[in-house]
């Protein structure tokens, strides 16, 4: 048991140290997130609607793009000098490598959100006083979902000719069951949207906050388990 924890910790620390020394990924995704929020803010202003309605979707889109870039980078660095082969030659289970990479992506997304979430809150004039815990729960579950699929598919696309450009299509297509309840949950947290309005027609499946959170958690569990089991088949030779 301790050897598994050691393996995960070793890969986790290696990837984080690489990132903190190179400082390639985090500045990029933080800038991207703020720019996305800013552009949507201008568009919402032009449409002269209640701008806070857009905040939830904007935040999740920013998270999604950041997650895709992070997952892509996680395997792009392993391709240089064929590091992935050395990693696979080590006598460790591929599932452990997956868990370590997953944790790195989650941590990177959490750091990304420390900057982006306040930016979105300020730009879209949203207040979440007293609902911080709920916001953190949605963000954390969203991070796990995006990273779980992103990490596995990041391993897949580096075997293809199209590489990174394919990743966004694959991740977004697979992640739709998480995207819908997550955006609904963020809408309920941020906006002037009342649960009855959301639940009535459009997204009956995730009408109130608790149901939406339940859906995200359930799909997180499914995706993490399935991806953890299948990861060895993707990277191994």
């Amino acid at each position: 048991m301790s050897s598994i924890a050691d393996t995960i910790r070793a890969i986790f620390v290696k990837d984080l140290v690489t990132e903190f020394r190179a400082k390639q990924l985090l500045p990029t995704i933080v800038c991207l997130g703020v720019i996305i929020a800013w552009i949507f803010r201008i568009a919402a202003q032009a449409a002269s609607v209640d701008v806070s309605v857009a905040a939830g979707a904007v935040l999740f889109i920013a998270m999604l793009f950041a997650g895709i870039l992070a997952s892509d980078k996680g395997f792009a660095v392993e391709q240089e000098n064929d590091c992935i082969s050395s990693l696979l030659l080590a006598p460790v289970d591929a599932g452990d490598i997956y868990i370590a990479k997953l944790l790195v992506n989650i941590v990177v997304l959490c750091i990304f959100e420390i900057v982006t979430v306040p930016a979105v809150l300020i730009l879209f004039k949203v207040t979440v006083t007293g609902r911080w815990l709920r916001l953190i729960a949605v963000l954390l579950l969203g991070n796990i979902g995006i990273s779980s699929v992103g990490t596995l598919l990041g391993g897949i696309v580096h075997r293809t000719r199209a590489a990174s450009s394919l990743l966004s299509v694959l991740v977004m297509a697979v992640l739709m069951p998480i995207m819908i309840p997550a955006i609904v949950a963020l809408l309920l947290l941020f906006g002037p949207v009342v649960p009855q309005a959301v639940g009535a027609g459009t997204f009956g499946i995730a009408g109130d906050f608790k149901t939406a959170i339940g859906y995200i958690a359930a799909f997180d569990a499914i995706f993490v388990t399935v991806c953890w089991l299948l990861f060895g088949l993707v990277v191994g030779d």
Binding site: T160, V174, G204
Partner: protein
Amino acid sequence: MRLLFWCLSFCLTLVSGWMALSVAAVEPAEYNIVYIHVPAATCSLVCFTILFICSIQHLRTKNQMWDHIAAACGEVGLVFATVLNATGSIFAYAAWGVWWTPSLRLVSSAMLWFLYVAYLILRASLPDQQRKGQICAVFGIIAFVDVPLVYISARYIPDIHWPKIGFDSIWQSVAFGLAIGGALLLAATLIWLRADILKSLNQISKPALSKAEGTKYQN
């Protein structure tokens, strides 16, 4: 044998179409699309389920045959999913006055379509023949996670798109059954044909591949 399947499927579809236009017509008229829409939905879900099973079998046995069937199911299932979304859209315009509305069921079936488009894009962009089957099988399994959501949303969750229609004559039930039978036969024939073509393609490309590899080693 395949010709027999073709003919049978053609006849069943023709008979059900004739019945739908005469004795089994439903009111109001736009609801007649049920004879195309529901069989297309059934076939696409069946194709994606077979794809999922073949993906698991391919990972277990490493037999190329399963990969060919999975690829064929992906392509045929996508054709039926396209018919499903197109007929659904036409019905929505006739009945509700809009081409598309973000109801859960419409979202989930559009989602399914994109998912299997992504599957085929992935399949097309993997150069390595040997690894292709394995990686596509992995994606096929993850993609299937969304299929039950589509099914559950279509059957059990109240929505604008709720199966309000009940058949009140035996002719309608018969026509409906024939339409589904015909479509399933058509799907089976197409999968069979496509899997055979993929198998032949694989056999053709194999000697060329080994020849190229041979020159690589000589150099």
